[in-house]
């Protein structure tokens, strides 16, 4: 058993991110705590890893290949497998970490800065391992790397009571879900004598032990993915955590849970399709519909921006779960597209909310009155993100939902019902997104009357209030308020949503072939 160079070369993205983690800790020891240096270094390493993943996607052989020696962690097939589907998700995870790293450069300096960036990279590293795992234990341990890093990230501002409370809740739920999924894994190990996900797919449904095991693993991962019976923690944690951490949780760590459910359930569906038949599809579909409905209905009645975004994030998880509930390549590709869109939208939206303090905007939705006029750049970007979340045409959010619902109709029969439920939910969600848009672009007369009651926002508006047409002076003010890195990230995300929404062909092609390969060739 010897390491040859080609096998190590396959781990370039993981190694790059890992070197970034070590470097940030070294800088911390050297006493360098400036966000510009540490955040910049982290962003560069994440960007390098992201580019490496993109390069791999272009050149990787279509057939998945296993590289670690068999027998490591006890699997006959090896714990790691490289597939295009996994690589696409590596790219998605790295993108979410990169956006958060870039945007947080604009936050205040402090002694926790290196901790934040090191943990961010470490969480990204765990996600990268999740995306290449072919073994249940390897998968759950990788989820745990991310989990432990994110528990600390939520509470890294140790003096902030709300953040520490959020960290406590997140920790309890996270540790509980870990214990449940490992117990499920132990039952699967007992039922099949292996923990290899690739081996599961070839095995018959021989015992109810396995069904219980799969169920418990799904519950554990469902907590991470904020599916509905297990979603209660998410709202409090997203609300209490610093906004950049919320952005990372909603954009990155949640998608990791969903990806885990995808790769575990692709095995479970194959195993139980013959024995239990339709029931499993029915259960997954019901879970998806309940998740999106509860998320949307609860989002309707929220008054603070962060909690509204948290519930809308739960609703989005429901749409994405449809991918595995329908179980066709087209649906899985649509879900991947929707996940990509959601990474951009949710990271962007939480970053905007984080920038709200610098913009002189309060935490309530009504505080956003007139922001579209007084802050043209941020206002327009946020509007694009909200339109994309609502699934309006010309944005990436529309393309994702369109592919997903189209795949459901294509699958026919019962799946058409899922498409109808999804469409109704999208219509419902337009209400609360449109409400924010209405506040942001209220006519100036009503806008300034209420803004006047808000001393903070009024003073930063400058003399003469906002003119009808956005002047460059106010954009310069806006950039100073949010910080140039954060402003550039937000505007960049909005542009990306538009560009990919108008011309999504290249990523759709890649996702279609990857999903096809994932479902037919095995993990």
């Amino acid at each position: 058993m010897s390491f040859d160079i080609p096998s190590i070369a396959q781990y370039t993205p993981e190694a790059t991110v890992f070197i970034g983690v070590i470097l940030v800790f070294m800088l911390d020891v050297a006493g360098i705590r400036s966000r510009a240096i540490i955040g910049g270094a982290t962003s560069i390493f994440l960007l390098l890893a992201f580019l490496q993943v993109l390069a791999d996607l272009g050149s990787w052989p279509l057939q998945g290949l296993s590289t670690l020696p068999a027998g490591l962690l006890g699997t006959q097939n090896g714990p790691v497998i490289f597939t295009n589907f996994g690589l696409i998700f590596q790219g998605i995870f790295l993108l979410s970490a990169l956006l958060v790293a870039l945007a947080s450069v604009s936050e205040a300096d402090g002694e926790e800065v290196p901790t934040f960036y090191a943990l961010l990279s470490l969480a990204a590293l765990g996600m990268l391992f999740v995306a290449i795992s072919a073994d249940l234990i390897f998968l759950l341990l990788s989820v745990e790397i991310t989990g432990i890093a994110t528990y600390v990230m939520v509470g890294y501002t140790r003096k902030d009571r709300r953040a520490v409370e959020a960290a406590m809740k997140f920790y309890i739920i996270g540790a509980l879900s870990t214990a449940i999924s490992f117990f499920g894994a132990s039952l699967l190990y007992g039922a099949y004598g292996t923990t290899s996900l690739t081996a599961f797919r070839a095995l018959p449904a021989n015992s109810s032990l396995a069904l219980v095991g799969f169920g418990m693993v799904a519950v554990g991962l469902g907590f991470k993915a904020t599916l509905v019976p297990f979603h209660m923690w998410a709202v409090d944690v997203y609300d209490g955590a610093p906004a950049s951490v919320s952005a990372f949780l909603a954009a990155g760590s949640k998608k990791m849970g969903l990806f885990g459910i995808f790769i575990v359930f692709v095995a479970a569906v194959r195993i139980f399709a013959s024995a239990q038949g339709f029931a499993l599809y029915l259960a997954l579909g019901a879970l998806a519909v309940i998740t999106m409905t509860v998320g949307n209905v609860m989002a309707l009645e929220q008054t603070t921006m962060k909690r509204m975004l948290a519930y809308s994030s739960i609703a989005q998880a429901g749409y994405m779960l449809l991918g595995i509930a329908i179980d066709t390549p087209a649906a899985l590709a649509g879900a991947t597209l929707q996940i990509t869109a959601d990474v951009l939208m949710k990271a962007g939206a939480f970053i905007v909310v984080g920038a709200a303090v610098g913009l002189g905007v309060g935490p309530l939705i009504t505080d956003w009155r007139g922001v579209g006029h007084s802050r043209p750049g941020i206002g327009a970007s946020f509007a694009i993100m909200l339109l994309s979340l609502a699934g309006m045409p010309l944005t990436l959010g529309f393309v994702g939902k369109f592919y997903l619902f189209f795949a459901a109709v294509e699958a026919g029969g019962y799946f058409t019902l899922l498409a109808i439920a999804g469409l109704l939910n999208s219509a419902l969600s337009v209400f609360y997104y449109a409400r924010i848009l209405r506040y942001m672009y209220m006519p100036e007369s009503t806008g300034s009357a209420t803004v006047g009651a808000h001393p903070l926002s009024h003073s930063s508006l400058g003399v003469g209030n906002a003119p009808a047409a956005p002047a460059w002076g106010s954009v310069r003010d806006e950039i100073r308020g949010t910080g140039s890195a954060r402003w550039a990230t937000v505007v960049g995300i909005a542009l990306l949503l538009l560009v990919l929404g108008i011309y999504p062909t290249p990523i759709i092609g890649a996702m279609n072939s990857a999903a096809q390969q994932f479902l037919t060739l095995g993990l």
Binding site: Q76, L141, R162, V164, M168, K169, L176, F183, G193, D236
Partner: protein
Amino acid sequence: MIPLDELVLFSGLLFSLGIFGVLTRRNFIMLLISIEIMMNSAILNFIAFAAYSPAGNSLLEVSGQGIAVVLIGLAATEVALGLAIVLALNRIIGSVDVADAMQLKL
């Protein structure tokens, strides 16, 4: 030797005990202990299934024990982090009671 089904039944009971603790206790330390009991029931399961693996399949036997050792390490990591969080919380609100940490409305 203890039969396999009794071992699995025992670990199932431990797991239920842990869930019961998580649902009823309000003290953070007790929550930590309950979650640890749940983790240990999973570890016990791995060891039990490894010990009763079909004769001749040495790989299976070793893997269960290996996973158990890794999980013991993982459980220790989690507890260390949990204690760090409870210290930070205690410094702010002066209590380790979960019910006292409810500033975020549910």
